[in-house]
């Protein structure tokens, strides 16, 4: 049994639900449980870039009588209070472990009180027993695209989006968008808009990565309609169909993208741009799907500015091709970093660790093509510890626990959740895109220089 002395207990689906809901404006979260659970959350949001759920998350403050008698007055009173006082568009009722065990029917409560509230009520009954946090995020994504997204968009959003329309670097090849004719009103307003699907408030480095994705899209004249769900609103979710393309940044967003494709015909593209090769491909692919072209002069300017090779930053006595690197990140980041390491730096990752098994069969094949020396999926603490000891890497990309466990590894780079000892608020440290390539290459060189013994094979 892994008692998690050096590792960490994986957050449950309950957390995934909270985190996936927390980036949505006009939506309030009401959890049904004891106040201690909510108070703990006020604390744990801090480890995600010093965020706070204040004004977003509330608790009903369940007590012994509620547990014994199965009473639901407290949650009803709390619903009415939130509805009356803050006028949210949606109130999400979230079960905690206690609610699940006593079997309180949140959906039944919704059916009872929905007609008396202005806010739309949604329920998330898992209570932390369904699985890990990825399941909670997927549950929220599924629920929102099924229940909130609409085919016809609100006028207020059309005017809001039109006002923000970009005119930089656009070269429309005159192709029709795939979504055209399915969400007519939206297609007229948002021919060159995309949704980004996947990032939630727990996503590592999300501020910088999103800034870079938006910047890159701007190079081809594409604007981001919304980021589902870390920076969105109920209205924006209603209007997901107004975008011409959905860009899925991590595997747990795929199901939502499939549903949106089925409901509204919106195509999707899955993948993150890592390294120069990856960024060019990503941008060309996205442009192609939207009937746009990435201009050569734009690409040249990008590569001139951000495409410097690692070879341009070392001297001929600084050998680095012998370095052993470990990557311990969720699938999409692991795939991207491993690819970049191999293609841009010439280093084959010696160890890749995935915290959860990718759900799509072809994902494993893609990772396998990058030839990682060793691949561990959901390892327990002792297996991971043994792997680090035997491989003895000089470089590790991972979460705070991995970095602590790898105490003797000279080059440690935070690259995954949880990152309780790392802040990433500034938007100029991307891992993805052209600027991500530049930032990571510069960072690795600086760290190698600070640990010159690693050059000595």
């Amino acid at each position: 049994m892994d008692l998690k002395h050096s590792g960490f207990p994986v957050p449950s689906d309950y957390f995934g639900v909270l985190w996936a809901l927390s980036g949505i404006k006009d939506l309030l979260i009401l959890e049904h449980g004891s106040t201690g659970t909510c108070n703990y959350n006020a604390f744990n949001y801090m480890i995600m870039n010093r965020q706070s759920p204040k004004g977003k998350l509330f608790t009903s403050g369940m007590d012994e009588d509620d547990v014994v008698m199965g009473r639901d007055e407290k949650i009803k009173e709390a619903i009415f209070e939130l509805d009356r006082k803050y006028h949210p568009k949606v109130i999400a009722l979230v079960a905690t472990g206690v609610t699940s065990v006593i079997g309180l029917d949140l959906q039944g409560i919704i059916e009872e009180v929905q007609s008396t509230t202005e806010a739309r009520l949604l329920s998330y009954p898992g209570g932390g027993f369904a699985g890990d946090y990825n399941l909670g995020i997927k549950e929220v994504f599924r629920s929102l695209v099924n229940n909130i997204a609409e085919e016809t968009i609100a006028e207020e959003t059309i005017s809001e989006n039109t006002a923000k329309e970009s005119d930089i670097g656009v070269k429309n090849a005159g192709k029709k968008t795939v979504a055209e004719g399915i969400a007519k009103k939206s297609a007229e307003a948002n021919a060159c808009t995309v949704n980004i699907i996947g990032p939630t408030i727990d996503s590592f480095n999300v501020v910088s990565d999103l800034a870079e994705l938006e910047r890159m899209l701007d190079l081809i004249g594409v604007r981001v309609n919304t980021v589902f769900t870390c920076n969105t609103s109920v209205n924006k979710i209603k209007n997901l169909a107004s975008a011409s393309l959905n860009l899925v940044t991590r595997d747990i967003g795929l199901e939502a993208a499939e549903i949106l494709k089925e409901r509204f015909g919106t195509p999707y593209y899955y993948g993150l741009p890592f390294g120069v090769h990856g960024s060019v491909q990503w941008l060309n692919d996205v442009a192609g799907m939207l009937g746009l072209v990435l201009e050569r002069r734009v690409l040249k300017a990008e590569v001139e500015r951000y495409g410097f090779s690692i070879l341009e930053l070392v001297n001929f006595l600084q050998n680095f091709d012998h370095l052993r690197a470990m990557i311990s990140c969720p699938y999409d980041y692991s795939l991207g970093l491993a690819g970049m390491m191999r293609e841009e730096w010439g280093i084959d990752p010696s160890l890749v660790v995935l915290p959860t098994r990718p759900k799509r069969p072809d994902n494993m094949a893609k990772l396998g093509m990058l030839n990682p020396g060793r691949l561990l999926i959901e390892p327990d603490s002792s297996t991971l510890d043994e792997a680090i000891s035997s491989i003895d890497p000089q470089i590790i990309f991972g979460n705070s626990y991995d970095l602590k466990m790898a105490g003797n590894v000279p080059i440690k780079i935070h690259a995954a959740f949880p990152a309780f000892d790392h802040v990433y608020r500034y938007d100029g440290t991307p891992f993805v895109g052209f600027r991500g390539h530049a930032y990571l290459t510069q960072t690795i060189i600086n760290l190698l220089n600070q640990n010159p013994e690693v050059f000595r094979n």
Binding site: M1, L3, F8, Y14, G61, D63, T96, G128
Partner: protein, 442 residues
């Protein structure tokens, strides 16, 4: 000043109107963040016991949060040893029983980590499911070397953390054995820091030949706790340690004095004299000297602080005695944001009222309601724990007393004065930024 917002106004009472039971009305049905739970408090405390490990037995929600709290603590000036182990209470365990998993985990923890004491900390779920957890532990006791101590921490039976923390103290009683009484020795109960033996109280007592045997729960070993009943006096600094002191008196005859932390010089003098009297030592010269120094500091601080207003919240010690200190400084406490009022607070409350001060008393466990109230009352200073950015946005100077919480005696009051007079590093920049943000909203 009475708040205009009707939602807030109806939940405000003046101190003079506080009901006999001291209960404060909840300020909202939808709460945030609410009070923290026993599980969290206990998980943060048991690492203080040396040569121990703790098995936290709960759902993934509680375990994940407990580990994070420990990790965040590791980044501070007061880190706690990493002695937490985790056993996830899954849905299958609820249906099919948790006993075997717990048994396996105990055996593994005993064999791999060799603790003298293994704490077994339950969460809400065990109590709701109703599996006879204690019987399960009794079965396994003979098979492990570690002493197994169970701490129940269900949160749904009580909104605050008090019962669980009291259970933690009471669990230590299991380690204690009858001892011959050793004169001039004390235990201090209810001080939670590695620097406990450096406090003014400890220094003064040691200077008079008193031996501090244990500071409970701060870094005592199980064998030291075993010998704890042999002291002349238990000095109990907070309400959480009181049940343990009572049990020790009843079982072992260990005398105790309940002496919550005061702030006002007169209160400190009385506090010290009572402790000194119980130990039959003379601290009068030292107390007079420290009191004079503190009074001098107050005299110097009055011209700077006089005429200001404040809110008071999140205090370690006697909150109404702190309010009296603020009044001495010329600072008017407009509101006291409190979780609970204890019966032993009554004399301080009465003294405050006798001084003609009758602040609003407001239950302080809901941030948004607190902020609505403070926005209306607009005090100059917020004394106690509160969110710095929110206060800065309202133009209120936050004074967080965490460094004074680690001190005991006049030194703690002098630290409070320093914190009131000085601006925390970075505060000017924070207030400047918040001012721009607020102006931008208009």
């Amino acid at each position: 000043m009475t708040p205009k917002n009707p939602d807030i106004k109806k939940r405000c009472i003046n101190l003079s109107e506080l009901p006999e039971d001291g209960l404060l009305e909840a300020t909202a049905h939808a709460k945030y963040p609410g009070q923290h739970c026993s599980f969290r408090a206990v998980a943060g405390t048991v690492p203080l016991i040396k040569n121990s490990y703790a098995l936290l037995l709960g759902p993934a929600i509680c375990l994940y949060n407990a580990k994070l709290s420990m990790n965040m603590r590791s980044l501070t000036s007061d880190p706690r040893p990493n002695n937490l182990l985790f056993v996830n209470y899954s849905q299958d365990d609820i249906i099919f029983g948790f006993r075997e998993k717990v048994r396996e985990a105990i055996l593994q923890a005993d064999q791999e980590y060799h603790p003298e004491v293994l704490f077994l900390i339950t969460s809400c779920l065990q109590e709701i499911v109703g599996e006879d957890f204690d019987a399960c532990i009794d079965e396994i006791r003979p098979h492990v070397k570690a002493k197994l101590l169970i701490i129940h921490t269900e949160n749904f039976t009580h909104e605050g953390a008090a019962p669980g923390v009291e259970n933690m103290f009471k669990s230590l009683f299991e380690l204690m054995k009858p001892q011959p009484l050793v004169d001039k020795t004390v235990n201090i109960l209810g001080l939670w820091t590695s620097t406990a033996r450096k406090t003014e109280l400890a220094r003064l007592l040691v200077g008079k030949g008193i031996v501090i045997k244990n500071v409970i729960p701060s870094y005592c070993t199980p064998s030291e706790l075993q010998a704890a009943p042999g002291v002349q006096l238990n000095i109990v600094l907070d309400q959480y340690g009181l049940p343990l002191a009572r049990m020790m008196k009843e079982r072992f005859g260990t005398q105790y004095i309940y002496a919550r932390k005061p702030f006002l010089p007169d209160s400190l003098e009385k506090w010290y004299l009572e402790i000194a009297g119980a130990l039959d030592v003379d601290l009068s010269v030292e107390i007079a000297d420290l009191k004079k120094k503190t009074e001098d500091q107050i005299t110097r601080a009055r011209p700077v602080l006089g005429g200001k207003t404040c809110s008071v919240s999140g205090i370690s010690g006697r909150p109404f005695d702190l309010a009296r200190l603020l009044v001495r400084l010329g600072v008017e406490p407009k509101v006291m944001l409190l979780q609970t009022v204890l019966p032993e607070d009554r004399p301080d409350m009465q003294a405050l009222l006798s001084d003609g001060i009758d602040p609003i008393v407001f239950r302080g466990d809901n941030s948004l309601q607190n902020e609505e109230l403070l926005a209306e009352l607009s005090p100059d200073i917020s004394v106690g724990a509160f969110e710095r950015a929110a206060l800065a946005g309202m133009g209120i100077k936050p004074v967080i007393l965490s460094t004074s919480n680690y001190l005991l005696g006049f030194e703690s009051t002098i630290e409070v004065l320093r914190l009131l007079l000085e601006k925390p590093a970075g505060l000017d920049a924070l207030m400047y930024k918040e001012k721009i943000l607020v102006a931008g909203e208009c």
